[in-house]
Symmetry: C2
Subunit: 264 residues, 2 copies
């Protein structure tokens, strides 16, 4: 399971301010801490960037690349911002991402082919909503895979995100159970070992007691690992959840065990 860090996000005031002022220093410092904490992919969640998308995403990608050679995930719904990031990228770039929404199929999915980049495909209805039941979730996985193939993409470039629902949603618990079952079945369903990603912070989004949130996330992550999740997007600056993630990797291995290998 690869660890993608979700900390570089416009929803953090510090990041929003640095982006507004085009000040690379706080971002460099944050990315450096993310890398030290074990990040293997840096997610740049820039939001839609309605004003100056090219300039702003270019600045973010350039600043991250000043600090690290880690793969970058471009997390935006704005095709212009995504393309600017893809043009600036020197290393591996992942587009995050497309869904069956017509606008995204038309303007985001083709970028993966044009730039030969990996791309995240969200299992959402064409209207952007989370599926109502297990059958629709399965059907969306087939449709998202089919859309990627139809666009000419090598299927190995696809990373499926089944979208973890916040527990506080009316059907959040039920949906997340369906997500576990789907993740387990995906390789058989699509006929190849498709890569997958899930945003763990979604699980406990919204108000709620912090300690309970932490324990629920710590329990859900190994459940995802047990059904074969290949990438997790998480708060890499939370040592407790990172420790659990590292333990999941140890336990998913088949090698000889030594305590020295356990990085917690």
């Amino acid at each position: 399971m690869m660890l993608a860090a979700d900390n570089l996000t416009i929803t953090r005031k510090m990041v929003a301010a640095a982006l507004r002022e085009m000040d690379p220093r706080p971002i460099r410092d944050l990315v450096s801490r993310m890398q030290k904490a074990g990040a293997e992919i840096i997610d740049i969640n820039s939001g839609p960037l309605t004003r100056e998308p090219e300039k702003k995403m270019g600045f973010l990608v350039e600043t991250v690349q000043e600090v690290t050679d880690l793969p970058i995930m471009l997390d935006s719904s704005n095709p212009k911002a995504l393309e600017a990031g893809l043009r600036m990228g020197r290393g591996k770039i992942v587009i995050n991402g497309f869904s069956l929404e017509p606008e995204k199929l038309a303007r985001i999915l083709p970028l993966a082919l044009k730039y030969q980049a990996d791309i995240v495909g969200y299992l959402l209805y064409p209207n952007g909503q989370v599926p109502m039941n297990a059958e629709d979730l399965t059907d969306l996985a087939i449709q998202v895979h089919g859309a990627a193939i139809k666009a000419g993409l090598d299927e190995e470039r696809l990373i499926i995100d089944p979208v973890i629902a916040p527990l506080m949603w009316e059907n959040g618990l039920r949906h997340n159970r369906h997500v576990l079952v789907l993740l387990r079945n995906l390789p058989d369903l699509l006929g190849f070992p498709v890569r997958t990603i899930a945003g763990l912070s979604n699980l406990t989004a919204g108000p709620g007691p912090k300690e309970k949130k932490q324990v629920l996330a710590q329990a859900f992550l190994p459940m995802l690992a047990a059904v074969g999740l290949s990438h997790v997007l998480l708060n890499i600056l939370d040592p407790a959840i990172v420790g659990i993630a590292q333990a999941c990797r140890t336990l998913s291995g088949m090698d000889i065990f030594t305590w020295a290998e356990v990085v917690i």
Copy 2:
């Protein structure tokens, strides 16, 4: 997932001393704390009880029953001790357990039929060793189930223990991966929703750094839950692992989620 508590064990000096002196007070106190901490089954690990097995097991069962009505799991390799416990039991008793070892098939398995008790079946070779590979583990599950049926037991009385290996064993990691796969496949393999149990403390048995042990156990438990484990035997007096177990139960549910229901 039911929580069976492994704290009442002869390997704890306090328990050994109380049993030697036939002093019920420390045991009553311990069982009371186990129940308060969330135990749903009390495992009485008496060891083989080579001297006075009936008297000693009778004392242990009686003492536990003075404190609680919870189901009791009789954890001994001594058929005389097990039968004494079964005779004394006023509530639900689980025999823990038998394997394909000839002595256990001959003298322990029949007790389940005689006393209409549930019984744990260990997936071990007839020589008592842990299986070497995934094929043998699967084959042992079929054989243990077959032995129970052949003995006249209702298959619903069987609880399969695939035996978690200590990570420090040469093939411990590999075996535990096989255990996860087997647990997932067992209902299909045996054709009914067979109940299962695993002793979590086994995972980190032996020397090693305490903090790493805790995190590995906290990660492995949800993995077991995700593949359908129905009972876990654990240290109920460790609030961190119990919190994870409770979170697993919440996340395995399909009901409407509320923070108030999350007992952590």
